[in-house]
């Protein structure tokens, strides 16, 4: 059993276990910190979405709470002008590359981006950056679900589900930079890949990129 320690988040005293990561301690104690890519069981956090910033007393710069292991006596602030600005910019950057037609999206009202927007009072429309518009073909090859890359936020939740839960490995990240994408080996349609269509990836997707086909949901 790991040792129990005490930390303070937003002036609230919280009991935690040594070795826990800050993001999960906060979330489990009803303190919301925005996040998209964090996976609790992941040995080494991906830390790619850059939304879970907090300030810790004694640290010069904001840190991502998904990578920070709690220490006894740690004093954490989840809100500050500096953090709010960083998170807002990160969020708006993601929105600039996201298909924002929420009304057409199957994840409408059940979307991590909408949750972040409402909890942090950030508009789901951003005007600062020019939207990056690209044409993607929706992969509708699987029987019950589909994949629309225009909504993908590259959080990697689907890849984790595919590899660690389903133990299949049909999808992964490919390409670099602005072209980074979740796709199958050689970009073949999911149904032609080794995908077993177990749909664990669909359940893992926090936005509407992987979604159940309508006709199936109505059944």
């Amino acid at each position: 059993m790991s040792r129990e320690i005490w930390i303070t988040i937003d002036q609230k005293k919280i009991k935690a276990n040594e070795g826990d990561r800050l993001l999960w301690v906060a979330l489990e104690n009803d303190i919301y910190i925005p996040h998209l890519c964090a996976i609790k069981d992941e040995e080494r956090p991906n830390a790619g979405c850059r939304l879970c910033f907090v300030e810790i007393v004694g640290y010069k710069n904001p840190v991502t709470s998904c990578t920070k292991v709690v220490q006894d006596g740690m004093i954490v602030k989840t809100r500050s002008p500096r953090i709010d600005r960083l998170i807002k910019t990160g969020f708006e950057l993601i929105l600039s590359d996201h298909n924002l037609k929420c009304r057409e999206c199957p994840a409408n009202k059940n979307c991590a981006l909408q949750e972040i927007a409402s909890k942090r009072k950030i508009k789901l429309q951003q005007r600062r950056f020019k939207p990056i518009t690209r044409e993607f073909e929706i992969d509708e090859s699987p029987e019950v679900f589909a994949f629309d890359r225009s909504r993908c936020v590259l959080c990697g939740q689907c890849i984790w589900a595919d590899r660690e839960k389903a133990k299949v490995g049909a999808i992964g990240f490919t390409r670099r930079g602005i072209n980074r994408a979740v796709t199958t080996f050689k970009d073949i349609p999911l149904a032609e890949s080794i995908c077993t269509q177990c749909t664990l990836c669909v359940d893992a997707c926090p936005v509407g990129a992987l979604y159940y086909k309508k006709e199936v949901r109505e059944d």
Partner: protein, 636 residues
């Protein structure tokens, strides 16, 4: 007890190497610089020409390939060491000059001083490199033997005390090596300046048995070639440093991660490893001790981000070269999950010198907080481009004006970009900043890997920022939000400004975004990518404003903000050079005989401006792109 101690074994080896090297000096030797810089300038042809000339004349002389002496501006270069004469260095060689040297110096006895660059040893007839202003400032530690020794022959290295530090260290406890490196306050030359000794100590304290030593030779900055030159010119120095590190931390296996675009470096290092292994300086029972350590070359495929430690390790493990969040640090959990020391080429290269000469010697060079030397590849608008090594604390002004001999063509200095694509652009007012890790950081630049690009009045700082950002945006791995999307939007804004479509609001946005990308990115590629933008905004904001508010590029660089114009009073009606130089037939002869540019057809290629004879100098660039009203008289 007939076992020999490592020093005895080494001494025998070194003595034999020395006598071999000495035997070589009895006949004439021509040392041709065939590092990549030399080869690019035509050194292989020069080498062949020497060989041909020697054969034709039936001379008793040997042509040896060496590395880079740092005077890249004078490549191709060769040193002629003829018994009875001081060794002389000749630069900018071509067939004619080589034949002349063969004829007059090798076959005759005329050293052709009129073509000599410098002598390598003090003498009564010709100055040495040390007599140049550059030589006054330069202090060559890790470049000391580059260009002077045969990288392909381990004896050449052994004869100059190579591997003596290893022999000395093996006589003592491993801890002694660590203590010496710590006492020397050797800071990592990969860019950040983290104390190497602290890193090693963290690795040593791990209870794991399996540990690794990796040399980061993934240098990939535009304009930087220090690591490549060292590996090509003096590979054993780096290898010896790695073996010493392995001994200090207890590693058995190491790798040199060299990017595959450096084929000569890969070849030279591989050759050096083979020879060191053959001599018992690598592999099992090094110098007769119980210490085993072996090295391998790993060829990286050239992603800039793989210079980042965690991305490098991922790529070695066969995964995508993406960075990871830290901790854990590599010293605790690195390659294959084992404690790993990853240092830069230059960092390892200092280690044998520190062990050989002691920490106090090292600390006597440079500044208290940044001891030792700084190695730069000095490029751009500077007369003497090349590889330089100066003590830390030398100012940028000394480096550019004395070591580099200033700017060519009497142009005015504008800025110096220091630290590679993610370094900062510093203006004239920052030239007296001493070069060390902390001062540069305070000025907004970084030591980085040591790329140093000098820019003059003809460089547009907005275009320069855009250029570097295009590089980092292209090299972003895409894993994290700020780097993937932030650099993309920054580049778009910069492109708009250089296209004359910028607004003052977009400038504010650019600055805010740059700060957020710096603070929010996962790894140092993203965190430092905004440096060129932030420093040009800080020091050259006027240029941004001119682009946005006046539609004008002060340096006359941004194509959408300039036009080419032929000044009627200056144009010689009889000359047709500009017309012939134009690839799009945009220049025509008017009825009055003067030449004029059809602005619709002009692609702003700059050919006409270059072609117009200097006695007329009739073609100019104008910004903003507005044609002046011609004076009546001139038109007629």
């Amino acid at each position: 007890m007939n076992s020999m101690n490592p020093l005895d074994i080494y001494q025998r080896m070194a003595d034999e190497a020395k006598s071999r090297e000495e035997a070589k000096t009895e006949k004439t030797r021509i040392l041709v610089g065939t590092a990549t810089c030399g080869v690019a300038a035509g050194a292989l042809k020069v080498r062949d020409e020497f060989v041909k000339g020697i054969e034709k004349k039936g001379l008793d002389a040997e042509v040896i390939e060496v590395g880079c002496m740092g005077h890249c501006y004078a490549e191709p270069m060769a040193v002629i060491a003829k018994p009875g004469f001081p060794p002389m260095c000749y630069g900018k060689l071509d067939d004619g000059l080589v034949n002349r040297l063969v004829e007059d110096y090798l076959a005759g006895d005329d050293p052709c001083y009129e073509y000599a660059l410098a002598a390598l040893e003090r003498n009564d007839v010709f100055p040495t490199f040390e007599d140049f202003p550059r030589g006054v400032h330069e202090e060559k530690l890790i470049l000391g033997q580059c260009g002077y020794i045969d990288a392909g022959d381990i004896n050449s290295f052994l004869a100059r005390d190579g591997y003596s530090a290893l022999a000395k260290a093996l006589e003592d406890e491993p801890l002694a090596v660590l203590n010496e490196v710590k006492a020397a306050n050797l800071r990592g030359r990969g860019g950040a300046g983290f104390p190497a000794g602290d890193k090693w100590e963290a690795c040593l304290s791990s209870s794991e048995n399996e540990k690794y030593v990796i040399c980061n030779a993934d240098e990939g900055d535009p304009g930087a070639f220090m690591d490549r030159s060292i590996l090509e010119s003096d590979p054993h120095l780096v290898i010896e440093g790695m073996v010493l590190c392995a001994y200090a931390i207890g590693a058995q296996k190491g790798y040199l991660y060299i990017r595959a675009e450096y084929p000569r470096a890969v070849r030279h290092v591989q050759q050096a490893i083979d020879q060191a292994r053959q001599m018992g300086l690598l592999g099992n029972a090094i110098l007769g001790t119980k210490f085993n350590f072996d090295l391998e070359v790993f060829q990286g495929s050239g992603a800039f981000v793989c210079g980042e430690a965690t991305a490098l390790v991922n790529s070695m493990e066969g995964k995508m070269g993406l960075p990871e969040s830290r901790p854990p640090r590599l010293a605790q959990k690195g390659y294959r999950g084992k404690p790993t020391i990853l240092n830069n080429v230059k960092t390892f290269a200092y280690v044998p010198l520190i062990i050989r000469n002691g920490a106090d010697w090292f600390k006597s060079i440079g500044t208290p907080d940044s001891p030792g030397t700084a190695v730069f590849s000095l490029v751009g608008k500077v007369v003497n481009t090349g590889l330089v090594e100066v003590p830390m604390g030398t100012t940028l002004r000394q480096l550019i004006y004395e070591v580099g001999d200033g700017l060519p063509n009497a142009k005015e200095f504008k800025a110096v970009q220091i630290g590679g694509p993610s370094g900062g652009c510093l203006p004239e007012s920052a030239l007296d900043v001493p070069i060390d890790f902390d001062s540069l950081h305070d000025a907004g630049a970084i030591m980085g890997s040591g790329g140093l690009v000098v820019m003059d009045q003809d460089d547009c700082m907005v275009a320069v920022a855009r250029y570097f950002l295009e590089f980092t945006q292209h090299e972003s791995c895409g894993k994290c939000t700020f780097c993937r999307l932030g650099t993309k939007h920054m580049l778009d804004i910069l492109t708009d400004i250089t296209d004359g479509k910028g607004t003052m609001e977009s400038l504010t946005l650019l600055e805010e975004l740059a700060e957020d990308v710096r603070d929010g990115s996962l790894c140092n590629l993203g965190r430092t990518a905004p440096n060129p933008v932030l420093t040009t905004l800080k020091y050259f904001r006027d240029e941004y404003r001119a682009h946005i508010e006046e539609g004008r590029c002060p340096a006359l660089v941004c194509r959408d903000l300039i036009l080419y114009y032929i000044k009627p009073p200056k144009c010689s009606k009889l000359c047709n050079v500009c017309v012939g130089s134009c690839p799009t037939e945009a220049i025509f002869t008017r009825e009055d005989g003067l030449k004029e540019i059809d602005q619709e057809k002009c692609v702003k290629c700059d050919n006409c401006l270059k072609a117009c004879p200097p006695e007329y100098n009739a073609i100019v660039k104008l910004s903003p792109p507005v044609l002046p009203k011609e004076k009546e008289g001139a038109v007629k």
